[in-house]
Amino acid sequence: MTDAPILSVSELSKNFGGVRALNQVSFDLQPGELLGVIGPNGSGKTTLVNLITRFVKPTSGEVFFKGKKISHLPPYKIVRLGIARTFQMVKPFYQLPAYKNMIIPLYSPRMRQLAGGHYGDRDAMALDLLEEVGFERDAHVAYKTAGALPQGYLKRLELAKALALQPDLFILDELFSGLSLAEVASIVPIIEKIRMAGKTIIMIEHRLKELFRIADRVIVMNYGEKIADGPAEAVMEDEAVKSAYLGTEAG
């Protein structure tokens, strides 16, 4: 824990009208860490992601990425710096084949930065990336229209779109929701592979069991506040967490 943090969130808050969706949340993230963010529905997890990526403007607070302030930048510039996110509600281009959905991220100026102006064939890159996330090439799944694909493939497509941007920080918002146990089990190795490549990952999850198996550290949110932060076992022993979770889950 001696490295400089790759991401530093400082007293981030957001009001929606009268609703305090996020209240003074701060945390640091070390390079290569896999951070889980959990909390009951409506506790502000997605809002936190939206504020970091600035799809939503913070009411107050700052975000630093690799030591550089990013909380005043428009979202497309933040992506170019190397933060890629997935959305909780996947919304692909339903009438296009899956691999054509990859063209837009592959068209990203970030690709130009990384490749030094040299592109390969985008269709071929799209097919390679999709194979990496489990679109079986032999079965030609990547050629099916996105609208015809089951949820499991749409989530993988979402992950592949983030992979295409070759980010240093992945923020995955409920990638596992709506998936069967088998589907989750097939995606976990992909995430572990990303991690082996030294990338930093934030995972928002409701699937605690699967998350705890891979997370280094967990942050618990409740009513827009960070109520706990630490290794999974320690956090789940916390009284505030127990009452927040058991309170909503049992009640």
Partner: protein, 334 residues
């Protein structure tokens, strides 16, 4: 020998999905016809029509180009109600350059197209962030404001307009220039919209969130689309200025905004070809109805409604679907 019916494109599709392996003249014709037909029509029509309908053909080309311009914007998520802005700005650009500086049409038309596209982009730049109906309202209002500015400040001849423009060399030149530009714009920008670049533009319309999430500045791409659409519209204005040898306040008329939208919607938006087809149907129809005097607009309106109700997908999509379903007889063993 038993026979069954199958689609003509079946063999083509089965042999290869991307690289067409063509086995017969019939398959080649099947693929080439939709591309050849518009070229042949555009090249032959000027020869076949009388002087009156030749003038109508010029209007057809202008409405078709404005409709294509509208369709490109619409596919990028911007619904324009003010195609007259593009037309009018192009018209005044070429008119002013010709009138005050004496530049020949060979220069004024291309310069006015680019300059007009640029001016329109700059005018609309501040409202690029507006979505849906808010953007549309602004495009509707701006041409109305510009007319009043011309009237009040008396610039560019005020209410009188500027007349005595250099005419184009001949009617044939006008006809073939307009047809050539129409074909180039139609095929060129259809190709662009099918490319990866076009996919990004269409992505902005479909789901701008996912385009932003790729690190793409959607306003930069919207501005590019606006410039393309503006330049196409400005060409129309610049061209007609030299055809009419006049430029004045009517160039901002509502007709130039409404007719192209009607053409694109009736023809089938999202293809550019539909917009063109729509213009080739609606403009001559409107001319043919002139004999009905006061009832002309009524009949025109009724036709529009009938088209939209009967073929809500647009005429082009309907024809395209039918074309792909054309069948032939093939021999079946046994």
């Amino acid at each position: 020998m038993k026979k069954r019916k199958e689609r003509i494109d079946r063999g083509i599709k089965a042999r290869s999905s991307d690289i067409f392996a063509l086995l017969s003249w019939r398959e080649m014709l099947y693929l080439a016809a939709p591309r050849l037909l518009p070229v042949i029509v555009c090249l032959l029509l000027p020869l076949l029509l009388g002087p009156y309908w030749q003038k109508v053909l010029l209007s057809v080309a202008v409405v078709a180009l404005l409709a294509i311009s509208w369709d490109i914007l619409a596919q990028t998520g911007m619904v324009s109600l003010g195609q007259a802005l593009f037309f009018g700005v192009g018209a005044y650009c070429s008119g002013a350059m010709n009138h005050y500086w004496g530049l020949s049409p060979v220069l004024t038309i291309p310069i006015a197209s680019l300059l007009g596209g640029l001016i329109c982009t700059l005018i609309l730049l501040p409202v690029l962030r507006l979505r849906g109906i808010y953007f549309s309202m602004v495009t509707l209002i701006i041409p109305l404001i510009l007319v009043r500015i011309v009237e009040a400040t008396k610039i560019f001849g005020g209410t009188e307009g500027l007349s005595g423009m250099t005419p184009l060399p001949s009617t044939w030149f006008e006809l073939y220039l307009s047809m050539a530009v129409l074909l180039a714009v139609l095929f060129g920008f259809r190709r662009m919209m099918d490319s990866d670049y076009g996919l990004v533009l269409k992505g902005i319309n479909d789901n701008d969130r996912s385009v932003i999430n790729a690190g793409i500045n959607i306003y930069w791409f919207k501005a590019q689309s606006l410039f393309i659409a503006g330049a196409i519209g400005a060409f129309c204005g610049a061209f007609m200025t030299h055809v009419y040898m006049f430029v004045g306040m009517p160039v901002f008329a509502l007709d130039y905004s409404i007719l192209p939208i009607a053409a694109a919607v009736v023809g089938g938006p999202g293809t550019l070809a539909g917009a063109t087809l729509g213009a080739f149907i609606l403009v001559p129809m409107s001319e043919a109805l002139r004999g009905f005097g006061g009832l002309r607009i009524v009949l025109y309106g009724v036709f529009l409604v009938v088209f939209i109700v009967a073929l809500p997908e647009g005429i082009f999509h309907y024809i395209q679907r039918k074309y792909h379903q054309i069948e032939r007889w093939v021999e079946v063993d046994k």
